[in-house]
């Protein structure tokens, strides 16, 4: 049905062109070639050529220029000549119909396509739109989401080491984005330290920082056991303070999805979620080997690339057992001590995959189910508590969460630097240049090589010019790349090429902050 309209429009267009060239129809008569006819012929030919190239646009433009009575309206918002609004009365094409004479502003016919001069988004408006979307989503959550959200109690065992800031900041930011009330219990091995305290103070969350006597052991086996002790200690705190809510175990090097916190709100007494295990090694070749093996070795039903620890359900959706990590292929190659460049293996069932109702660990609560043991009876002899399942007499009561374990809501990872690696007191804080000078009252903590090296050779592959750049006035000290690159575990080291390692030892660049990040990216 629209094709008919198309045919009619075609007719209209060719009409306009013909009428346009009608002055040129002074046909050449016989062989007499007066200058006028030559001129008209030439003009005709020129118009033909131009029309061939530009097509109907040319005819429309000429038409517009020849026939438009009034000048085109204000062009402040209008883009270009070819797309200006043709005034409704100007061309016969448009003059024909208006919907109704009286009082109607709407005119049938061709209208211009209005394009504003800068058709790109305005950042202030984009921010406003995002705020609107946030409000809408908050309203959606309050209407359709979890009705009575319970406080989340997150238990994190930690200790001061090279990667503590890295891991703890990750967990901290995840917890800061949780939309529910949160209590964060940070258990530190070797007693509480100011470092950890200052780090977690930045979160703005409600934190309980406790220390456990004894240094974190060097061997992974012992470390797992020590961490279990730390978690039990935290559970005792929950019990003593009668913290109400849902207890989850947020190990500091794990990665949590925010959906996890929505999902655990559904737990009644004790639940379990699926944990993706990112066991890997250092060194790129071993990593590839590992990926291929884990792909062959996966045990769970879905074709995921990573092994998953979590509940296994039977057909009716009830808990039938657990998927655990198969340690067989890695037995020889597993990491022994912290900082070892081999695969770090998880235990059979990680604490991180369990969530508890905090009332389970309270003392003498009547509503508690019969299958829970009292917290004081567990671990008091120093035995190793592998998972919260030891709290239960009957493990079948565990509720599988995350659509019966099909959704992986958190990922387990253990990456550590060598225990004797040097690291500065606190991590370098990159100043953001947009903050005001008054906010730079924070002390600068920098990694510095002392004494400075005698040879500095410019790196060959940087795109920056060779002349040493001007340092910005508000950077007091220079930032340099740290020296102990070979001691770093290969996770980040795998990004560097091995060949450059030996060179890097002696190449230290005096750079400003911009160039230093660029260099890190280069390698």
């Amino acid at each position: 049905m629209k094709q008919l309209a198309a045919l009619q429009q075609q007719g209209r267009r060719s009409n306009s062109f013909r009428s346009n060239s009608s002055p040129l129809d002074a046909t050449v008569d016989g062989a007499i070639k007066s200058p006028a006819t030559i001129f008209w012929l030439f003009l005709h030919g020129l118009c033909c050529l131009i029309s061939l190239v530009l097509g109907f646009r040319f005819s429309r433009l000429v038409f517009f220029l020849l026939f438009s009575a009034s000048p085109s309206p204000s062009t402040t918002t209008i883009y270009s000549a070819l797309r200006t609004t043709l005034p409704a009365i100007s061309s016969p094409q448009e003059r024909n119909v208006s919907a109704d004479g009286a009082g109607s502003r709407v005119v049938v016919g061709r209208h211009g396509i209005l394009i504003r001069p800068w058709p790109h988004p305005d950042p202030a408006e984009v921010m406003k739109a995002h705020r609107i979307i946030e409000r809408v989503q908050a309203e959606q959550r309050s209407q359709y989401g979890v009705k009575n959200p319970r406080t989340v109690v997150a238990i994190t065992p930690t200790y001061v080491r090279t990667f503590q800031t890295l891991h703890l900041t990750g967990v901290m930011h995840s917890l800061m984005n949780v939309r529910y009330d949160l209590v964060w219990i940070v258990v530190e091995a070797g007693g509480t330290t100011n470092e950890t305290a200052s780090l977690i103070a930045k979160s703005g969350l409600k934190t309980i920082h406790i220390g456990v006597e004894g240094k974190m052991p060097l061997l992974w086996e012992d470390r797992h056991k020590f961490e279990s002790r730390m978690r039990l200690h935290a559970l005792r705190i929950v019990r003593d303070k009668k913290l109400d809510g849902i207890v989850m175990f947020a190990d500091d090097s794990n990665m949590h999805s925010l959906e996890l916190f929505d999902e655990i709100q559904n737990v009644k007494w004790i639940g379990t979620v699926s944990v993706g295990i990112l066991a890997h090694s250092g060194g790129s070749e071993e990593g590839d080997l590992l990926m291929r093996e884990t792909h062959a070795d996966e045990k769970d039903e879905k074709k995921s690339q990573i092994p998953v620890q979590g509940p296994a359900c039977n057909a009716s959706g009830n808990l039938a057992g657990w998927h655990t990590f198969d340690t067989q292929p890695f037995v020889e190659r597993s990491a022994i001590y912290i900082g070892d460049r081999a695969v770090v293996l998880p235990r059979k069932l990680e604490w991180a995959g369990f969530v508890l109702n905090s009332r389970l660990v309270w003392e003498d609560v009547e509503g508690n189910p019969v299958w829970v043991k009292d917290l004081v009876e567990i671990g008091k002899d120093g035995e190793d508590i592998e998972s919260p399942l030891s709290l239960l007499t009957d493990t079948s009561v565990v509720e599988p969460l995350g659509s019966c374990g099909r959704k992986v809501l958190l990922w387990w990872l253990r990456v550590e630097a060598r225990a004797d690696s040097k690291f500065p007191a606190r991590l370098l804080e990159l100043l953001s240049f947009s903050t005001t000078i008054s906010e730079t009252s924070l002390l600068l903590y920098i990694w510095i090589i002392d004494p400075p090296l005698d040879i500095t050779v410019p790196a060959k592959r940087t795109p920056w010019p060779d002349a040493p750049p001007e340092l910005p006035a508000y950077v007091e000290k220079v930032t340099t790349i740290p020296e102990n690159t070979e001691k770093r575990p290969a996770k980040s080291g795998s990004k560097r090429k091995r060949s450059s390692r030996s060179k890097r030892k002696h190449n230290v660049k005096v750079l400003d902050i911009r160039a230093s990040t660029k260099q890190a990216g280069d390698n």
């Binding site: 094709q3 646009r57 709407v106 809408v136 209407q143």
Partner: protein
């Protein structure tokens, strides 16, 4: 159905339509003695839930099947395209409680002619024979029954859901030239097209939403707690390359303007794709654009209302369905066609609580029900809204009854081709 009361009563807007609505609400509340439900002020909860049974009686003419059933048998696509309301209305009326078999007590007379069922191979209806079909049907009913001549059709109603209603053409210029079929000038036309001060919209016509298949819509619902993360959503043509390649005619240049201004804007998810997740995506969007096309109405409005996405209506002077029962300016956002380049500024400057209020009004189930034509009919759906609209026009003015022998309509008006028998 209870709707959560979240706001206090607000002062009414100044439009006369709203004032009539409020008056009707008071009237109904007083007359029926019922407490108004827990809906927000101006949410039209009362009027939409009116039950037309008992308020009017409709007599359905029995026309030979060549006017309805045979046409449908020739092309069953008529049951699923957006003009299917005429067929479903007929089926609804045949079994409805408002139907009467005694024409002497009827308030309204319905003529079941499927004028939009003559489809081209690509599925679009050809309106060229529709005037002749209508004329032939009217000749039949005026010859066989006395009720047409009694009022020359003033108490008859017809469903004409085509692009420009009873002007029976898809091209606006031609439709305007033809005007409404002269024989239908005194009847009530139930149509989807509505534009103020337009030749093809009579005063007293009832505007209805286009047909959208209810089962298909209901099968694509997603959980309501899925967060709405798309700011503006639109899927459809911007340039009708077959009929208007350079733009300017199609949609009066508004759709092309939308594309040129916002194709690079990350907040605007607009494209010409046909995704299979179209309905799901609308449920994840805050605003859904409903610009005009060749005609100002489109099924997008229906889809936006059902999926809770605030409709952004870009069509100057449009008359929206059931405008006297649904408070469109409180549910949707109206943008003038000349303001399309500034759409992002307009939409982001709407305060968040206004947006939340619009979403709450949209969530009202009676609003969604009023846009649908479910099979079988349910209370509060579009069929009932049409009957409510007809009921609100009662009682008929005494002047419509003509003296015997008096003729008002000109049976020879209109193009010569229309007078050929069908």
């Amino acid at each position: 159905m209870l709707v959560i009361v979240l706001e206090l009563r607000r002062p009414s807007s100044s439009r006369s339509g709203r004032a009539i609505l409020q008056a009707k609400q008071m009237q109904l509340a007083v007359l029926n003695g019922k407490k108004s439900k827990d809906t927000e002020e101006g949410s039209a909860g009362d009027v939409l839930d009116d039950n037309p049974v008992g308020k009017l009686k409709v007599y359905v003419y029995e026309l030979p099947s060549k006017y309805n059933k045979k046409i449908l048998q020739k092309d069953p696509r008529c049951l699923t395209h957006m003009f299917a309301a005429e067929i479903f209305m007929h089926q609804f009326l045949l079994t409805s409680a408002v139907r009467t078999l005694n024409p002497n007590e009827a308030d309204w007379f319905y003529t079941p002619v499927y004028s939009t069922c003559d489809l081209a191979p690509n599925g679009l209806p050809l309106p060229f024979k529709s005037p002749r079909m209508m004329r032939s049907a009217i000749q039949l009913i005026s010859a066989r029954w006395p009720y047409w001549n009694r009022t020359e059709g003033a108490d008859h109603f017809f469903l004409v859901p085509h692009d420009f209603g009873a002007c029976f053409h898809y091209q606006e210029e031609k439709a305007i030239k033809r005007g409404i079929l002269p024989l239908l000038q005194r009847s009530t036309l139930v149509q989807t097209f509505g534009q103020q001060n337009h030749v093809c919209l009579n005063d007293g016509s009832i505007t209805i939403p286009p047909y959208a298949p209810p089962e298909k819509i209901m099968s694509h619902l997603i959980p309501p707690d899925t967060p709405r993360s798309i700011f503006v959503y639109f899927r459809g043509l911007f340039y009708d390359l077959n009929n208007d390649p350079e733009g300017g005619y199609y949609a009066r240049g508004a759709r092309a303007s939308m594309w040129e201004n916002f194709k690079n804007n990350p907040l605007f998810d607009i494209s010409t794709d046909h995704p299979t997740t179209y309905y799901e995506d609308m449920q994840r969007a805050v605003f859904c654009l409903c610009p005009l096309g060749w005609a100002p109405w489109s099924p997008r409005l229906v889809e936006a209302v059902i999926f809770g996405c605030i409709p952004v209506i870009i069509a100057d002077d449009i008359v929206l369905p059931f405008a006297d029962a649904i408070p469109w300016e409180e549910i949707g956002v109206f943008v003038a066609e000349k303001d399309v380049p500034y759409l992002d500024t307009i939409l982001t400057s709407i305060p968040a609580d206004v947006i939340l209020r619009k979403q709450r009004l949209l969530a009202n189930p009676s609003m969604k029900q009023a846009m649908l034509f479910p099979q079988p009919a349910q209370p509060g759906d579009a069929f009932h809204q049409i009957l409510n609209g007809l009921a609100r026009k009662l009682p008929h003015d005494k002047k419509i009854y003509l003296k015997p022998g008096e003729k008002v309509l000109n049976w020879t008006a209109g193009p010569v081709g229309d007078r050929k028998p069908w």
